[in-house]
Amino acid sequence: MRHLLSTGDLDRETAVHVLDTAAGMAATQSREIKKLPTLRGRTVVNLFFEDSTRTRISFETAAKRLSADVINFSAKGSSVSKGESLKDTALTLQAMGADAVVIRHSASGAPHTLARSGWVDGAVVNAGDGTHQHPTQALLDAYTIRRHLVGAGGTADPAGRDLAGLRVAVVGDVLHSRVARSNVDLLTTLGAEVTLVAPPTLVPVGVEAWPCRVSYHLDPVLADQRPDAVMMLRVQRERMGAGAAGGGYFPTPLEYTRGYGLDARRLALLPDHAIVMHPGPMNRGLEISADAADSPRAVIVEQVANGVAVRMAVLYLLLAGEVSPAGGHERLDDRTGIA
Protein backbone atom coordinates (compact mmCIF):
# COMPACT_ATOMS: atom_id res chain seq x y z
CA MET A 1 0.00 0.00 0.00
CA ARG A 2 1.42 3.28 -1.12
CA HIS A 3 -1.50 5.14 0.37
CA LEU A 4 -3.66 5.03 3.47
CA LEU A 5 -7.21 5.08 2.13
CA SER A 6 -9.19 2.69 4.29
CA THR A 7 -8.56 0.63 7.40
CA GLY A 8 -10.07 -2.22 5.43
CA ASP A 9 -6.80 -2.32 3.48
CA LEU A 10 -4.72 -3.02 6.60
CA ASP A 11 -3.96 -6.55 7.67
CA ARG A 12 -3.25 -7.35 11.29
CA GLU A 13 0.51 -7.28 10.93
CA THR A 14 0.51 -3.91 9.20
CA ALA A 15 -1.91 -2.40 11.69
CA VAL A 16 0.18 -3.55 14.64
CA HIS A 17 3.28 -2.17 12.95
CA VAL A 18 1.61 1.23 12.60
CA LEU A 19 0.64 1.17 16.28
CA ASP A 20 4.17 0.17 17.30
CA THR A 21 5.63 2.94 15.18
CA ALA A 22 3.18 5.36 16.76
CA ALA A 23 4.44 4.25 20.15
CA GLY A 24 7.96 5.10 19.05
CA MET A 25 6.76 8.49 17.89
CA ALA A 26 4.84 9.10 21.11
CA ALA A 27 8.02 8.45 23.12
CA THR A 28 9.71 11.33 21.34
CA GLN A 29 6.82 13.67 22.10
CA SER A 30 7.44 13.80 25.83
CA ARG A 31 10.86 15.36 25.26
CA GLU A 32 11.65 18.99 25.52
CA ILE A 33 12.62 19.11 21.86
CA LYS A 34 9.78 17.34 20.08
CA LYS A 35 10.89 18.00 16.54
CA LEU A 36 12.65 15.27 14.61
CA PRO A 37 14.56 15.84 11.35
CA THR A 38 13.15 12.69 9.78
CA LEU A 39 11.14 14.12 6.88
CA ARG A 40 13.30 17.15 6.17
CA GLY A 41 12.78 18.29 2.60
CA ARG A 42 9.55 16.37 2.16
CA THR A 43 6.37 18.28 1.44
CA VAL A 44 3.03 17.35 2.94
CA VAL A 45 -0.09 19.04 1.60
CA ASN A 46 -3.18 19.21 3.77
CA LEU A 47 -5.94 19.32 1.17
CA PHE A 48 -9.12 20.07 3.07
CA PHE A 49 -12.29 20.36 1.02
CA GLU A 50 -14.26 20.16 4.22
CA ASP A 51 -13.64 22.20 7.34
CA SER A 52 -12.02 20.27 10.11
CA THR A 53 -9.69 22.37 12.16
CA ARG A 54 -8.98 19.57 14.60
CA THR A 55 -7.91 17.00 12.07
CA ARG A 56 -5.95 19.49 10.02
CA ILE A 57 -4.05 20.78 13.05
CA SER A 58 -3.29 17.22 14.09
CA PHE A 59 -1.84 16.32 10.68
CA GLU A 60 -0.03 19.65 10.52
CA THR A 61 1.53 19.09 13.92
CA ALA A 62 2.54 15.55 13.00
CA ALA A 63 4.17 16.66 9.76
CA LYS A 64 5.97 19.56 11.42
CA ARG A 65 7.25 17.40 14.28
CA LEU A 66 8.90 15.33 11.57
CA SER A 67 10.31 18.48 9.90
CA ALA A 68 8.27 18.11 6.72
CA ASP A 69 7.22 21.25 4.92
CA VAL A 70 3.49 21.68 5.30
CA ILE A 71 1.18 23.38 2.85
CA ASN A 72 -2.38 23.89 3.96
CA PHE A 73 -4.86 24.03 1.14
CA SER A 74 -8.35 24.80 2.28
CA ALA A 75 -11.17 24.71 -0.22
CA LYS A 76 -12.91 27.64 1.34
CA GLY A 77 -11.98 30.89 -0.36
CA SER A 78 -9.73 29.04 -2.78
CA SER A 79 -10.06 28.18 -6.44
CA VAL A 80 -12.15 25.18 -5.41
CA SER A 81 -14.97 27.44 -4.30
CA LYS A 82 -14.73 28.98 -7.75
CA GLY A 83 -15.52 25.63 -9.32
CA GLU A 84 -12.07 24.13 -9.80
CA SER A 85 -12.27 20.37 -10.08
CA LEU A 86 -10.53 17.90 -7.82
CA LYS A 87 -8.43 16.98 -10.83
CA ASP A 88 -7.09 20.47 -11.43
CA THR A 89 -6.45 21.02 -7.75
CA ALA A 90 -4.54 17.74 -7.66
CA LEU A 91 -2.51 18.61 -10.74
CA THR A 92 -1.61 21.93 -9.14
CA LEU A 93 -0.37 20.20 -6.01
CA GLN A 94 1.56 17.73 -8.12
CA ALA A 95 3.27 20.61 -9.90
CA MET A 96 4.28 21.95 -6.50
CA GLY A 97 5.93 18.66 -5.66
CA ALA A 98 3.75 17.22 -2.92
CA ASP A 99 5.25 14.04 -1.45
CA ALA A 100 2.05 13.32 0.41
CA VAL A 101 -1.47 14.63 0.09
CA VAL A 102 -3.63 14.47 3.19
CA ILE A 103 -7.14 14.83 1.87
CA ARG A 104 -10.42 15.55 3.63
CA HIS A 105 -13.43 15.55 1.33
CA SER A 106 -17.19 15.46 1.69
CA ALA A 107 -17.49 12.93 -1.14
CA SER A 108 -16.99 9.31 -0.15
CA GLY A 109 -14.20 7.82 -2.23
CA ALA A 110 -12.53 11.12 -3.21
CA PRO A 111 -9.17 9.93 -1.78
CA HIS A 112 -9.50 6.72 -3.83
CA THR A 113 -10.16 8.79 -6.93
CA LEU A 114 -7.07 10.85 -6.18
CA ALA A 115 -4.91 7.78 -5.56
CA ARG A 116 -6.18 5.86 -8.58
CA SER A 117 -6.17 8.76 -11.02
CA GLY A 118 -2.45 9.24 -11.45
CA TRP A 119 -2.98 12.97 -10.95
CA VAL A 120 -0.48 12.95 -8.08
CA ASP A 121 2.63 10.82 -7.54
CA GLY A 122 2.73 11.25 -3.81
CA ALA A 123 1.17 9.17 -1.10
CA VAL A 124 -2.50 9.85 -0.45
CA VAL A 125 -3.69 9.84 3.14
CA ASN A 126 -7.41 9.79 3.74
CA ALA A 127 -8.25 12.29 6.47
CA GLY A 128 -11.95 11.55 6.25
CA ASP A 129 -14.07 11.05 3.13
CA GLY A 130 -17.80 11.62 3.26
CA THR A 131 -19.48 8.89 5.22
CA HIS A 132 -16.88 6.31 4.25
CA GLN A 133 -13.61 6.14 6.17
CA HIS A 134 -11.37 8.04 8.56
CA PRO A 135 -8.49 5.63 8.96
CA THR A 136 -6.17 7.72 11.14
CA GLN A 137 -9.00 8.28 13.61
CA ALA A 138 -9.51 4.53 13.89
CA LEU A 139 -5.75 4.00 14.28
CA LEU A 140 -5.57 6.53 17.08
CA ASP A 141 -8.59 4.91 18.71
CA ALA A 142 -6.95 1.50 18.46
CA TYR A 143 -3.72 2.95 19.79
CA THR A 144 -5.54 4.49 22.74
CA ILE A 145 -7.40 1.26 23.50
CA ARG A 146 -4.18 -0.75 23.31
CA ARG A 147 -2.30 1.65 25.54
CA HIS A 148 -4.94 1.39 28.26
CA LEU A 149 -6.16 -2.15 28.02
CA VAL A 150 -3.41 -4.36 26.57
CA GLY A 151 -0.35 -5.57 28.48
CA ALA A 152 -1.34 -6.15 32.12
CA GLY A 153 -4.09 -3.56 32.00
CA GLY A 154 -1.95 -0.95 30.37
CA THR A 155 1.03 -1.26 32.72
CA ALA A 156 3.29 -3.31 30.44
CA ASP A 157 4.59 -2.44 27.01
CA PRO A 158 1.96 -3.54 24.47
CA ALA A 159 4.39 -3.46 21.53
CA GLY A 160 3.61 -6.14 18.99
CA ARG A 161 0.24 -6.91 20.56
CA ASP A 162 -3.20 -6.62 19.01
CA LEU A 163 -6.58 -6.13 20.69
CA ALA A 164 -7.60 -9.78 20.86
CA GLY A 165 -10.50 -10.45 23.17
CA LEU A 166 -11.39 -6.84 23.93
CA ARG A 167 -14.97 -5.68 23.56
CA VAL A 168 -15.76 -2.28 22.15
CA ALA A 169 -19.19 -0.68 21.91
CA VAL A 170 -19.57 2.03 19.27
CA VAL A 171 -22.65 4.11 19.99
CA GLY A 172 -24.52 6.64 17.89
CA ASP A 173 -24.96 7.72 14.28
CA VAL A 174 -23.39 4.74 12.56
CA LEU A 175 -25.16 5.48 9.28
CA HIS A 176 -23.27 8.70 8.62
CA SER A 177 -20.11 7.86 10.53
CA ARG A 178 -16.80 7.29 8.80
CA VAL A 179 -15.32 6.80 12.27
CA ALA A 180 -17.62 3.84 12.87
CA ARG A 181 -16.80 2.22 9.52
CA SER A 182 -13.06 2.63 10.02
CA ASN A 183 -13.21 1.30 13.56
CA VAL A 184 -15.31 -1.73 12.69
CA ASP A 185 -12.74 -2.72 10.08
CA LEU A 186 -9.64 -1.98 12.12
CA LEU A 187 -10.72 -3.14 15.57
CA THR A 188 -11.98 -6.47 14.23
CA THR A 189 -8.79 -6.93 12.21
CA LEU A 190 -6.95 -6.44 15.49
CA GLY A 191 -9.07 -9.11 17.17
CA ALA A 192 -11.54 -6.99 19.12
CA GLU A 193 -15.29 -7.65 19.20
CA VAL A 194 -17.27 -4.63 18.13
CA THR A 195 -20.91 -3.96 18.89
CA LEU A 196 -22.65 -1.07 17.18
CA VAL A 197 -25.44 0.55 19.13
CA ALA A 198 -27.82 2.94 17.43
CA PRO A 199 -31.48 3.59 16.77
CA PRO A 200 -32.54 1.57 13.69
CA THR A 201 -32.78 4.74 11.60
CA LEU A 202 -29.06 5.36 12.08
CA VAL A 203 -27.93 1.87 11.10
CA PRO A 204 -27.16 1.46 7.38
CA VAL A 205 -29.02 -1.06 5.24
CA GLY A 206 -26.39 -3.68 4.47
CA VAL A 207 -24.79 -3.61 7.94
CA GLU A 208 -25.39 -7.36 8.15
CA ALA A 209 -22.24 -7.87 6.12
CA TRP A 210 -20.09 -6.04 8.66
CA PRO A 211 -17.98 -8.12 11.01
CA CYS A 212 -19.71 -6.89 14.15
CA ARG A 213 -22.87 -7.10 16.19
CA VAL A 214 -25.64 -4.52 16.09
CA SER A 215 -27.96 -3.60 18.92
CA TYR A 216 -30.71 -1.02 19.17
CA HIS A 217 -30.44 -0.79 22.94
CA LEU A 218 -27.54 0.62 24.91
CA ASP A 219 -28.37 -0.52 28.45
CA PRO A 220 -28.28 -4.27 27.80
CA VAL A 221 -25.07 -3.90 25.84
CA LEU A 222 -23.40 -2.11 28.74
CA ALA A 223 -24.82 -4.44 31.38
CA ASP A 224 -24.49 -7.79 29.62
CA GLN A 225 -21.52 -7.45 27.32
CA ARG A 226 -19.39 -5.48 29.77
CA PRO A 227 -17.48 -3.60 27.07
CA ASP A 228 -13.86 -2.69 27.75
CA ALA A 229 -14.24 0.53 25.79
CA VAL A 230 -17.25 2.62 24.86
CA MET A 231 -16.89 4.92 21.88
CA MET A 232 -19.54 7.61 21.61
CA LEU A 233 -20.15 9.05 18.13
CA ARG A 234 -21.05 12.63 17.50
CA VAL A 235 -24.65 13.30 16.54
CA GLN A 236 -24.98 15.91 13.83
CA ARG A 237 -27.51 18.54 14.79
CA GLU A 238 -28.89 18.74 11.26
CA ARG A 239 -29.96 15.10 11.42
CA MET A 240 -32.36 15.71 14.26
CA GLY A 241 -36.02 16.31 14.59
CA ALA A 242 -38.18 18.81 12.83
CA GLY A 243 -36.78 20.38 9.70
CA ALA A 244 -34.72 17.38 8.64
CA ALA A 245 -35.80 15.16 5.74
CA GLY A 246 -38.58 12.81 6.78
CA GLY A 247 -38.78 14.58 10.12
CA GLY A 248 -35.30 13.54 11.20
CA TYR A 249 -33.72 10.26 12.20
CA PHE A 250 -35.12 10.39 15.74
CA PRO A 251 -38.00 12.31 17.26
CA THR A 252 -36.20 14.66 19.62
CA PRO A 253 -32.75 15.17 21.10
CA LEU A 254 -34.20 14.32 24.50
CA GLU A 255 -35.44 10.96 23.29
CA TYR A 256 -32.04 10.25 21.76
CA THR A 257 -30.25 11.13 24.97
CA ARG A 258 -32.59 8.92 26.99
CA GLY A 259 -31.92 5.97 24.72
CA TYR A 260 -28.32 6.42 23.65
CA GLY A 261 -26.63 9.12 25.70
CA LEU A 262 -23.80 8.13 28.02
CA ASP A 263 -24.71 9.57 31.39
CA ALA A 264 -23.68 8.93 34.99
CA ARG A 265 -26.09 6.03 35.41
CA ARG A 266 -24.80 4.23 32.35
CA LEU A 267 -21.23 5.04 33.26
CA ALA A 268 -21.79 3.11 36.49
CA LEU A 269 -22.80 0.03 34.50
CA LEU A 270 -19.34 -0.21 32.96
CA PRO A 271 -16.60 -2.46 34.30
CA ASP A 272 -14.04 -0.61 36.44
CA HIS A 273 -11.31 -0.79 33.83
CA ALA A 274 -13.49 0.39 30.92
CA ILE A 275 -12.56 3.56 29.08
CA VAL A 276 -14.82 6.15 27.47
CA MET A 277 -13.90 7.54 24.07
CA HIS A 278 -15.22 10.21 21.72
CA PRO A 279 -13.70 11.36 18.43
CA GLY A 280 -14.75 14.92 19.13
CA PRO A 281 -16.09 17.49 18.96
CA MET A 282 -18.60 16.48 21.62
CA ASN A 283 -22.21 17.53 22.03
CA ARG A 284 -22.25 17.61 25.81
CA GLY A 285 -25.68 16.75 27.12
CA LEU A 286 -26.66 15.00 23.92
CA GLU A 287 -24.62 11.88 23.23
CA ILE A 288 -22.41 12.28 26.29
CA SER A 289 -23.03 13.95 29.63
CA ALA A 290 -20.48 16.04 31.46
CA ASP A 291 -20.25 13.28 34.08
CA ALA A 292 -19.04 10.86 31.46
CA ALA A 293 -16.92 13.28 29.45
CA ASP A 294 -15.05 14.52 32.50
CA SER A 295 -14.82 11.23 34.37
CA PRO A 296 -11.40 9.70 35.07
CA ARG A 297 -12.15 6.89 32.64
CA ALA A 298 -12.67 9.31 29.76
CA VAL A 299 -9.60 9.27 27.52
CA ILE A 300 -10.94 11.85 25.11
CA VAL A 301 -8.18 14.40 25.53
CA GLU A 302 -5.56 11.69 25.31
CA GLN A 303 -7.07 10.57 21.99
CA VAL A 304 -6.15 13.97 20.60
CA ALA A 305 -2.53 13.64 21.74
CA ASN A 306 -2.35 10.11 20.40
CA GLY A 307 -3.67 11.39 17.09
CA VAL A 308 -0.45 13.31 16.55
CA ALA A 309 1.71 10.24 17.26
CA VAL A 310 -0.39 8.02 14.99
CA ARG A 311 -0.29 10.54 12.16
CA MET A 312 3.48 10.91 12.61
CA ALA A 313 3.72 7.14 12.27
CA VAL A 314 1.58 7.10 9.13
CA LEU A 315 3.54 9.90 7.51
CA TYR A 316 6.80 8.23 8.50
CA LEU A 317 5.79 4.85 7.10
CA LEU A 318 4.48 6.33 3.86
CA LEU A 319 7.22 8.90 3.29
CA ALA A 320 10.45 7.80 4.92
CA GLY A 321 10.96 4.74 2.80
CA GLU A 322 12.93 4.18 -0.32
CA VAL A 323 11.98 6.37 -3.26
CA SER A 324 11.42 4.08 -6.20
CA PRO A 325 12.41 5.15 -9.70
CA ALA A 326 8.74 5.77 -10.50
CA GLY A 327 8.61 8.27 -7.69
CA GLY A 328 6.51 6.07 -5.49
CA HIS A 329 7.44 4.82 -2.09
CA GLU A 330 7.86 1.42 -0.61
CA ARG A 331 4.65 -0.26 0.26
CA LEU A 332 3.68 0.12 3.87
CA ASP A 333 2.68 -3.49 4.23
CA ASP A 334 5.92 -4.77 2.72
CA ARG A 335 7.90 -3.22 5.47
CA THR A 336 6.60 -4.75 8.58
CA GLY A 337 9.70 -6.71 9.46
CA ILE A 338 10.88 -5.89 12.92
CA ALA A 339 14.66 -5.74 13.35
Binding site: H17, D20, T21, G24, M25, A27, T28, R31, I33, K35, L36, P37, T38, L66, A313, Y316, L317, A320, G321, E322, V323, H329, E330, L332, D334, R335, G337, I338, A339
Partner: protein, 204 residues
Protein backbone atom coordinates in the same frame (compact mmCIF):
# COMPACT_ATOMS: atom_id res chain seq x y z
CA UNK B 1 24.65 -17.63 8.76
CA UNK B 2 26.88 -20.13 10.48
CA UNK B 3 30.61 -19.86 10.53
CA UNK B 4 32.76 -21.78 8.14
CA UNK B 5 35.72 -23.97 9.00
CA UNK B 6 37.67 -23.03 12.08
CA UNK B 7 39.12 -19.65 11.36
CA UNK B 8 42.80 -19.04 11.75
CA UNK B 9 43.70 -16.46 14.32
CA UNK B 10 44.64 -13.95 11.66
CA UNK B 11 43.12 -14.97 8.37
CA UNK B 12 44.72 -13.79 5.20
CA UNK B 13 41.67 -12.36 3.60
CA UNK B 14 43.27 -12.09 0.19
CA UNK B 15 43.25 -15.87 0.03
CA UNK B 16 39.65 -16.47 0.81
CA UNK B 17 37.41 -17.26 -2.11
CA UNK B 18 35.16 -14.64 -3.58
CA UNK B 19 31.71 -14.37 -2.04
CA UNK B 20 32.87 -16.42 0.90
CA UNK B 21 32.67 -15.61 4.55
CA UNK B 22 35.64 -15.27 6.83
CA UNK B 23 35.54 -15.14 10.59
CA UNK B 24 37.97 -12.44 11.59
CA UNK B 25 37.27 -12.25 15.32
CA UNK B 26 36.03 -14.91 17.69
CA UNK B 27 34.55 -14.74 21.15
CA UNK B 28 37.90 -14.57 23.03
CA UNK B 29 39.15 -11.64 20.92
CA UNK B 30 35.87 -9.77 21.35
CA UNK B 31 35.96 -10.32 25.09
CA UNK B 32 39.55 -9.08 25.34
CA UNK B 33 38.77 -6.03 23.20
CA UNK B 34 35.81 -5.04 25.35
CA UNK B 35 37.82 -5.43 28.53
CA UNK B 36 40.54 -3.23 27.10
CA UNK B 37 38.01 -0.60 26.00
CA UNK B 38 36.43 -0.58 29.47
CA UNK B 39 39.82 0.13 31.01
CA UNK B 40 40.58 2.82 28.45
CA UNK B 41 37.24 4.54 29.15
CA UNK B 42 37.93 4.57 32.87
CA UNK B 43 41.48 5.73 32.41
CA UNK B 44 40.56 8.51 30.03
CA UNK B 45 37.67 9.76 32.16
CA UNK B 46 39.38 9.18 35.47
CA UNK B 47 36.73 6.81 36.75
CA UNK B 48 33.05 6.16 36.18
CA UNK B 49 31.61 9.32 37.69
CA UNK B 50 29.22 11.07 35.30
CA UNK B 51 29.72 8.26 32.79
CA UNK B 52 26.86 7.19 30.48
CA UNK B 53 27.15 4.40 27.90
CA UNK B 54 24.62 4.76 25.10
CA UNK B 55 24.29 1.73 22.86
CA UNK B 56 23.13 2.25 19.32
CA UNK B 57 20.64 -0.45 18.29
CA UNK B 58 20.74 -3.20 17.51
CA UNK B 59 24.10 -4.64 18.52
CA UNK B 60 25.52 -1.55 20.15
CA UNK B 61 23.22 -2.09 23.12
CA UNK B 62 24.51 -5.49 24.31
CA UNK B 63 28.05 -4.23 23.75
CA UNK B 64 27.30 -1.19 25.94
CA UNK B 65 25.85 -3.46 28.62
CA UNK B 66 28.99 -5.63 28.58
CA UNK B 67 31.22 -2.58 28.83
CA UNK B 68 29.14 -1.40 31.81
CA UNK B 69 29.61 -4.73 33.57
CA UNK B 70 33.35 -4.58 32.97
CA UNK B 71 33.45 -1.01 34.28
CA UNK B 72 31.48 -2.04 37.36
CA UNK B 73 33.84 -4.92 37.92
CA UNK B 74 36.72 -2.52 38.15
CA UNK B 75 35.07 0.44 39.88
CA UNK B 76 33.54 -0.28 43.22
CA UNK B 77 30.00 0.95 43.87
CA UNK B 78 29.01 1.30 40.24
CA UNK B 79 25.61 -0.11 39.21
CA UNK B 80 26.07 -1.28 35.61
CA UNK B 81 22.38 -0.93 34.80
CA UNK B 82 22.46 2.74 35.82
CA UNK B 83 25.26 3.45 33.37
CA UNK B 84 23.57 2.20 30.22
CA UNK B 85 21.05 3.69 27.85
CA UNK B 86 19.93 3.03 24.32
CA UNK B 87 19.84 5.61 21.57
CA UNK B 88 17.75 4.95 18.46
CA UNK B 89 18.96 7.14 15.62
CA UNK B 90 16.54 6.00 12.90
CA UNK B 91 14.66 9.25 12.69
CA UNK B 92 17.90 11.22 12.44
CA UNK B 93 19.38 9.29 9.54
CA UNK B 94 20.14 11.08 6.30
CA UNK B 95 19.67 7.97 4.17
CA UNK B 96 16.04 7.11 4.92
CA UNK B 97 14.99 7.56 1.34
CA UNK B 98 17.71 5.17 0.17
CA UNK B 99 16.47 2.18 2.10
CA UNK B 100 13.21 0.42 2.76
CA UNK B 101 11.39 2.02 5.66
CA UNK B 102 13.17 1.21 8.90
CA UNK B 103 11.20 0.29 11.99
CA UNK B 104 11.47 2.86 14.74
CA UNK B 105 13.49 1.66 17.72
CA UNK B 106 13.51 2.61 21.36
CA UNK B 107 15.46 5.40 23.02
CA UNK B 108 15.98 5.08 26.76
CA UNK B 109 18.32 7.18 28.85
CA UNK B 110 19.65 6.32 32.33
CA UNK B 111 17.55 7.87 35.08
CA UNK B 112 20.20 10.50 35.69
CA UNK B 113 19.87 11.79 32.15
CA UNK B 114 22.77 13.00 30.02
CA UNK B 115 23.05 16.69 30.91
CA UNK B 116 26.61 17.40 32.05
CA UNK B 117 27.59 13.75 31.62
CA UNK B 118 30.29 12.11 29.57
CA UNK B 119 28.39 10.11 27.00
CA UNK B 120 30.16 7.21 25.35
CA UNK B 121 28.35 6.10 22.22
CA UNK B 122 28.76 2.37 21.66
CA UNK B 123 28.28 0.79 18.23
CA UNK B 124 29.38 -2.46 16.66
CA UNK B 125 30.93 -1.23 13.40
CA UNK B 126 32.21 2.21 12.44
CA UNK B 127 32.03 2.67 8.67
CA UNK B 128 30.90 5.84 6.89
CA UNK B 129 30.31 7.73 10.12
CA UNK B 130 26.75 8.65 9.15
CA UNK B 131 25.16 6.66 11.95
CA UNK B 132 27.33 8.51 14.45
CA UNK B 133 26.43 11.85 12.89
CA UNK B 134 22.76 10.93 13.32
CA UNK B 135 23.49 9.89 16.91
CA UNK B 136 25.13 13.25 17.65
CA UNK B 137 22.03 15.01 16.34
CA UNK B 138 19.80 12.77 18.42
CA UNK B 139 21.86 13.48 21.54
CA UNK B 140 21.63 17.18 20.79
CA UNK B 141 17.83 16.97 20.97
CA UNK B 142 17.95 15.00 24.21
CA UNK B 143 20.21 17.17 26.32
CA UNK B 144 23.67 18.71 26.69
CA UNK B 145 26.41 16.27 27.71
CA UNK B 146 29.76 17.60 28.89
CA UNK B 147 31.51 15.44 26.31
CA UNK B 148 30.62 12.76 23.79
CA UNK B 149 33.02 9.93 23.00
CA UNK B 150 32.76 6.99 20.65
CA UNK B 151 33.53 3.34 21.22
CA UNK B 152 33.28 0.76 18.42
CA UNK B 153 34.09 -2.90 18.28
CA UNK B 154 35.26 -2.72 14.67
CA UNK B 155 36.52 0.23 12.66
CA UNK B 156 36.47 -0.82 9.02
CA UNK B 157 37.46 2.53 7.48
CA UNK B 158 35.85 4.27 4.48
CA UNK B 159 34.73 7.31 6.48
CA UNK B 160 32.53 9.82 4.66
CA UNK B 161 32.46 12.34 7.50
CA UNK B 162 35.13 13.81 9.82
CA UNK B 163 34.40 11.37 12.61
CA UNK B 164 36.80 9.10 14.48
CA UNK B 165 36.43 6.65 17.31
CA UNK B 166 37.95 7.23 20.75
CA UNK B 167 38.01 3.52 21.53
CA UNK B 168 38.40 0.80 18.91
CA UNK B 169 38.25 -2.94 19.48
CA UNK B 170 39.82 -3.83 16.17
CA UNK B 171 40.86 -1.90 13.09
CA UNK B 172 39.82 -3.99 10.11
CA UNK B 173 40.84 -2.82 6.64
CA UNK B 174 38.11 -3.79 4.19
CA UNK B 175 37.06 -3.27 0.63
CA UNK B 176 34.14 -0.89 0.20
CA UNK B 177 31.84 -3.58 -1.12
CA UNK B 178 32.52 -6.08 1.65
CA UNK B 179 30.10 -6.55 4.53
CA UNK B 180 31.26 -6.65 8.11
CA UNK B 181 28.88 -8.51 10.35
CA UNK B 182 29.16 -8.49 14.13
CA UNK B 183 27.41 -11.30 15.95
CA UNK B 184 26.75 -11.07 19.68
CA UNK B 185 25.73 -13.81 22.05
CA UNK B 186 22.66 -11.92 23.35
CA UNK B 187 21.09 -11.62 19.90
CA UNK B 188 22.82 -14.09 17.59
CA UNK B 189 23.73 -16.84 20.00
CA UNK B 190 27.47 -16.46 19.45
CA UNK B 191 30.19 -13.85 19.50
CA UNK B 192 32.00 -13.36 16.20
CA UNK B 193 32.93 -10.83 13.54
CA UNK B 194 32.51 -11.95 9.94
CA UNK B 195 33.58 -10.40 6.69
CA UNK B 196 31.40 -11.31 3.76
CA UNK B 197 32.23 -10.80 0.13
CA UNK B 198 30.56 -7.80 -1.42
CA UNK B 199 27.37 -7.94 -3.36
CA UNK B 200 25.64 -5.31 -5.37
CA UNK B 201 24.02 -2.55 -3.46
CA UNK B 202 25.40 -0.29 -0.81
CA UNK B 203 27.43 -1.95 1.89
CA UNK B 204 26.46 -1.41 5.44
Amino acid sequence: MTSGPTAPDRPDRRDRPDRGTAVVLGAPEIGRALTRIAHEVLERNKGADDLVLLGIPTRGLPLAERLARRVAAVEAGVDPAALVGVLDVTMYRDDLSRHPTRPIGTTRLPASGIDGKVVVLVDDVLFSGRTIRAALDAINDLGRPRAVQLATLVDRGHRELPIRADYVGKNLPTAQAERVRVLVEEIDGEDAVHIEAGEEGPAR
